[in-house]
């Protein structure tokens, strides 16, 4: 039997908070009713912060266990609102629905579960059989306060959320297996290295999600490295001559060029061009281009099927890194794992790949 999820406020109460300055101003209000509500909110906010801090330290607290301890998918329809998870529309074992986004979220999360389970013996994100929860048709507020389809996909700390895109640049994010694999890998990371989402550790967090998102697709297609595509999110972009994908792991910085809406792909392919500004939490989606390219170079040098050797090395490394690891640490650990698990040739391939992108 499916355990119902608690109904959550827009996004999650754990992350959606009234700014303290507003609540504090209300506590000084002359109206006692307003004052009372504000004081209550302060207490509530403190509780929310406590829960949030705890969930960060103990993500298992947020996990909804599978009733069978095995693969267990739950797909919800957010009905174009930002209140998660929405209405449950398909559970594990139920037949496909008419709604293609529901079936894509179900199928792709299943493929990602199977990938981690079959290759690495991992039982879901927490390795303890937690349910995979997806919300589709997630909306966002526009400039007139109306809900419109969200132009994004994200992991909220306990589940996946997918928008349908604006239909001009982005289409529905569930279309892409590598996008779904990317989001679920954020979930795996929450229970493993949990790399701090800022600067180089944050770029590694994004990097591992890109790596395993793409590897799930390659594994599903059964393609070897010579024929593999390293594009991320190609399926969620509306076609145009100025864009091929959201990211290109093999050639960072070339996924889109002079696009009227997207601009030019900002990803660096080498440490020489690393982004150091404040945007994107210090460039987590930008600087991931550097380790992404290192992974592709290592996989190409090793040959065969990328998930078998390079993927295994990166999976072990993801489990060994600490929250604050940087690119150098990742290079050291991947080379060490390559040596320990495979041998000198693999170690050489991994070390050479990192050197080529300027991390040595």
């Amino acid at each position: 039997m499916t355990r119902p999820l608690p109904n959550r406020s827009p996004r999650s109460p754990l992350q959606c908070i009234v700014p303290p300055y507003m609540i504090e101003a209300m506590t000084r209000c002359g109206d006692p009713a307003v004052r009372g509500r504000a004081v209550g909110s302060l207490a509530c906010a403190a509780a929310i912060h406590a829960v949030r801090d705890l969930s960060q330290k103990m993500p298992s607290m947020m996990a909804v266990p599978s009733p069978t301890g095995r693969r267990h998918r739950l797909v919800y329809d957010a009905k174009k609102k930002d209140r998660l998870p929405g209405r449950l529309v398909r559970s594990e074992g139920q037949k496909p629905r008419k709604d293609v986004a529901v079936n894509e979220a179900y199928d792709h999360s299943g493929a990602t579960f199977d990938f981690f389970h079959e290759l690495f013996g991992r039982n879901s994100l927490d390795d303890a059989g937690m349910s995979l929860i997806s919300s589709v048709h997630v909306g966002e507020v526009d400039d007139r306060g109306r809900y419109v389809p969200m132009d994004n996909a994200y992991w909220d700390g306990s589940q996946m959320a997918y928008g349908d895109g604006d239909g001009v640049v982005f289409t529905r994010f569930t279309r892409s297996l590598d996008v779904v694999g990317h989001e679920l890998t954020h979930g795996v990371q929450a229970f493993t290295s949990n790399l701090v989402y800022r600067g180089q550790s944050g770029a590694l967090n994004e990097h591992f999600s890109d790596v395993f998102g793409v590897l799930v697709r390659q594994w599903k297609e059964g393609v070897s490295v010579e024929k593999a595509s390293w594009l991320v999110g190609a399926d969620v972009l509306m076609p145009a001559a100025t864009r091929r994908a959201i990211r290109d792991m093999e050639h960072p910085g070339t996924a889109f060029v002079d696009d009227p809406v997207l601009g030019t792909d900002p990803q660096p392919a080498h440490m020489d061009a690393i982004y150091t500004g404040p945007a994107d939490r210090g460039g987590v989606h930008i600087n991931s281009g550097i380790p992404n390219r290192a992974f592709v170079l290592a996989a190409q040098a090793i040959g065969g099927k990328s998930w078998e050797t390079a993927g295994r090395i990166w999976y072990d490394a993801m489990l060994q890194l600490s929250r604050s690891s940087d690119f150098k640490e990742c290079a050291r650990i991947t080379a060490q794992v390559a040596s320990d698990r495979f041998g000198a040739a693999e170690r050489k391939a991994v070390a050479a790949a990192w050197k080529k992108v300027g991390v040595a």
Partner: protein, 98 residues
Amino acid sequence: MRIACTISGGFAGLVKECRIETASLEPPERARVESLVEESGLVESFERFSESARDEKQFDVTIDRDHLIVHVVCDESCVPKPAKPLMAYLASHASPAR
């Protein structure tokens, strides 16, 4: 009133910027922007990020009202509900950063 905004992150990791000088806008548009700012409730600076969310968009907004400056840096889930229409307006007027 001057508004400077950088929107970044999201799954796509795009960086977009928007600068608005309300004095240079047509009166109806100027009134609209000022109303969105007023209704946003953004009267004090803050910086706040979700610890556990990934791939959310990041907003970095500076509002300069006659040298009264409010600077807000946060990700999507930390945008106060009344400020969401303002953020959406800024996002719809932003262009790729150079």
